[in-house]
């Protein structure tokens, strides 16, 4: 399911963000790439950062010398955030002097072209970077994605959770942690068979994932029928909204379940919030969310439990 999505993605589907304060340069680069990939152009490094917040591109091509933030500074800033650290950045420089080349590599760029741009060289270099990006994405999908549900897997959580927590600490922002699992799932498998059980997991995970509105929100399959949702920069109120939406979404799927008192598949959710300023570690918060999950089960299932 998720692999078909990535396998189908080609260079033409890739998004290239072109950053230059010169309109003529933007026109040239966008026109030279228009039949290769989806291009977006912006005039400054700060506009580029805003564009990345909305949707991550597959490649950034940036001029070096710009008013305000330079292309090098833009690249260095992107490297500091986990969301954008792996974004390939190609520089467009006025000079290929040794000094300039050193600066490009030190800033974290993956390649550079010199102005005035030579179309064939430019296009081939972009094609190479996009092809490499597609292969990397596919590899990451294979490593970090749960094959059945399309959610992230345990390996992803082990790798990424520390940096998500670090980001929360750096920004002094709360991180909401919700753990949910499917009510009476063993009974569901016994009643309908494991293939139906797999299908149920896939439908549920797909629906929940579609309900997570922001690119920074994560759905992670941590056990057979157990999932973790990470909501960065989210306090209790916001997390409650998301959790209630998840409950409604799952109920709304109306997956028949004869052995549940609700008549259809439901989930129970435990919610806890990590606050960087407080002494509780992320491990404490995960444990707490797990305890609330049990509380939700003990209180009748198909509900959310959290701190009073």
């Amino acid at each position: 399911m998720i692999f078909e999505q990535n396998a189908a993605r080609s260079i033409e589907d890739c998004r290239v963000l072109i950053v230059d304060d010169q309109e003529t340069s933007l026109l040239i680069m966008a026109t030279l790439l228009e039949d290769l990939a989806q291009c977006e152009t912006v005039n400054s490094a700060s506009d580029a950062l805003a564009a990345c917040e909305k949707q991550l591109p597959d490649l950034i091509i940036t001029d070096v010398n710009m008013p305000g933030m330079s292309g090098h500074e833009l690249c260095q800033l992107l490297r500091k955030s986990p969301e954008t650290a792996q974004l390939p950045v190609m520089f467009v420089t006025a000079s290929d002097s040794d000094e300039e080349q050193e600066k490009c590599w030190q800033a974290g760029g993956v390649d550079f072209v010199t102005k005035p741009i030579h179309a064939t060289t430019f296009r081939n270099r972009v094609k190479f970077q996009l092809s490499h990006k597609l292969k990397t994405d596919l590899l990451e999908t294979l490593i970090y994605t749960d094959r059945l549900t399309g959610a992230f897997n345990r390996h992803y959580m082990d790798e990424r959770l520390p940096s998500i927590v670090k980001e929360a600490q750096r920004e002094n922002q709360p991180l909401a942690v919700a753990i949910f699992d499917i009510d009476y799932f063993k009974q569901y498998n016994d009643q309908y068979g494991h293939m139906a059980g797999d299908s149920c997991l896939w439908k549920l995970a797909t629906a929940v994932r579609q309900n997570l509105m922001r690119p920074m929100d994560h759905l992670i399959r941590v056990g057979g029928e157990e999932f973790l949702v990470l909501l960065p920069r989210t306090e209790t109120e916001g997390a409650e909204v998301v959790c209630h939406r998840m409950l409604e979404t799952v109920s709304g799927l109306n997956i028949a379940h004869q052995r549940s008192e609700f008549g259809h598949v439901t989930v129970s959710i435990g919610l806890s919030i990590y606050h960087p300023a407080q002494s509780a570690t992320i491990e404490d918060v995960l444990l707490q969310a797990d305890k609330y999950l049990y509380q939700a089960k003990a209180s009748g299932r198909n509900q959310l439990a959290q701190a009073d």
């Binding site: 340069s25 026109l27 026109t31 030279l32 008013p67 006025a94 005035p116 741009i117």
Partner: protein, 113 residues
């Protein structure tokens, strides 16, 4: 030295743009639109001692000049840019060469339009 360079390397510019004539025309029009105001800014900034501003605008115009194949202009803007860094006192002199090379380019571009 820049006298050895063509005023307008039109075929070179076209080749760099994969022979997309329409694209070169559009870029040329954009360049001609912005070049004079930018040259005036550079002159004013040099006269007022706003060296870093003059350098930034010179750098920008140099890039566009290269894109359209205005080789002599591109070279003289490069020298002006370097001069603004190392010997700003000479910038006013070099600016005159830039302005002259710009005029040569405009005449050539109009003639070949």
């Amino acid at each position: 030295m820049s006298e050895l360079l063509p005023i307008w390397d039109q075929s070179g510019a076209l080749q760099r743009l994969m022979n997309k004539e329409a694209l070169l025309q559009r870029v040329l029009l954009m360049f001609l639109d912005q070049a004079e105001p930018r040259l005036m800014e550079i002159r004013a900034d040099i006269n007022q001692g706003r060296i870093s501003q003059a350098k930034a605008t010179t750098h920008m115009l140099k890039g566009s000049a290269g894109e359209v194949g205005a080789m002599r202009l591109h070279a003289s803007l490069g020298r002006l840019e370097a001069c603004l860094i190392s010997e700003p006192a000479r910038a006013a002199d070099l600016y005159n060469t830039v302005a002259y090379n710009y005029q040569l380019f405009v005449n050539e571009a109009k003639h070949n339009a």
